[in-house]
Symmetry: C2
Subunit: 202 residues, 2 copies
């Protein structure tokens, strides 16, 4: 899809000139690859920590089992992490292929697809983390005004593991935010007011 | 801060040429202005709806008053809306001034400041909305596994008004997301591989 573009200028493909762009592009691509690997790893760790978490307590002969499906926000977070991990894996492969090929992304539809995907994933993971943190605050401190009891004093081990999972998700989410800025750079620099005015079209 | 740049090229200011850029820039700026006004209005409406909401109920001779400060997520949302409204107002003034002047944003530090501000506001409002929606879901449906009772059956009028406030915030948040993409365009097109290689520096 992408082209090296040395001397090639079909339609909206700007002329690729200067080694400076090449150096910057290589650095940006390396940062992108590292971040995408990091997100993939963190999302998998988070989903595993939350998805496998459970604790059994006996309270007055009643056996109670806490699991992540008791709270919809955690289910949402596991799903968001799963999507983030899958999406990142696909993007890692794309990055690796383009690095091996040594090609520079000048393809606008592809750049738009990557930008949109990264934006959606950043907003999705952030909202999942925010909802999970809110649920975690209720579980940790309760909400006395509404007679919602805190539950983390009963299920301390369970809550700790959930906390680790949410922290891992938060790191993945922050990396996603940085990545979405990188892909915005990758896309909108194609609209720079260069030699070719055709590259300014929306 | 910004310059028209016709024939002016000090350092990192690309040469401003072609009426196409001017037309696109005018459209983008108009969209930006409309969105910023919209966000300002929606954020004020949301903060007012949530901040002034209260309902008194008498349950077995006990007088109970529901107010937004009972739930930290709503306090966070009101604060986020206040920040969004204030920030948008400042940006509306900046947009209006630059439109009256007819200047095009070629100033990188200013573009970075706008981009960063918009990003922070988009992520802040989204996380506030997500936390408020999560709290709203608990209030509306309860969480039987944790013995958290639903409270919206007791305070229906209060919950409805909160719902309207959250919906208004959500619209403001979506506008903020679109705006942050516009400001990303405004910034990163300055890094396009045009005539001037100096504009490619990070």
């Amino acid at each position: 899809m992408s082209s090296l573009g040395v001397g090639v200028s079909p339609g909206n493909v700007p002329v690729y000139h200067g080694s400076r762009l090449k150096v910057i592009d290589r650095r940006v691509r390396l940062a992108e690859l590292i971040l995408r690997c990091l997100i993939c790893g963190l999302a998998v760790i988070s989903a595993a920590l939350i998805g496998t978490d459970s604790q059994v307590r006996e309270i007055f002969t009643i056996r109670k089992r806490a699991k992540f499906t008791d709270m919809k926000a955690l289910v949402f977070l596991v799903i968001a992490n799963g999507l983030a991990a899958g999406y990142s894996l696909i993007q890692v492969l794309r990055c690796a292929v383009s690095m091996v090929k040594g090609s520079v992304l000048f393809n606008k539809p592809l750049a738009w697809a990557i930008f949109s995907g990264d934006q959606v994933m950043a907003y999705l993971t952030l909202s999942a983390v925010a909802a999970a943190v809110q649920s975690g605050i209720f579980s940790q401190f309760g909400q006395p005004e509404l007679q919602w009891m805190k539950t983390c004093n009963l299920y301390a081990k369970f809550c700790n593991q959930i906390g680790e999972g949410v922290a891992s998700s938060l790191l993945a989410c922050l990396s996603m935010v940085v990545l979405s800025a990188i892909s915005a750079y990758g896309l909108f620099r194609l609209y720079g007011d260069g030699k070719e005015k055709s590259s300014l079209e929306w």
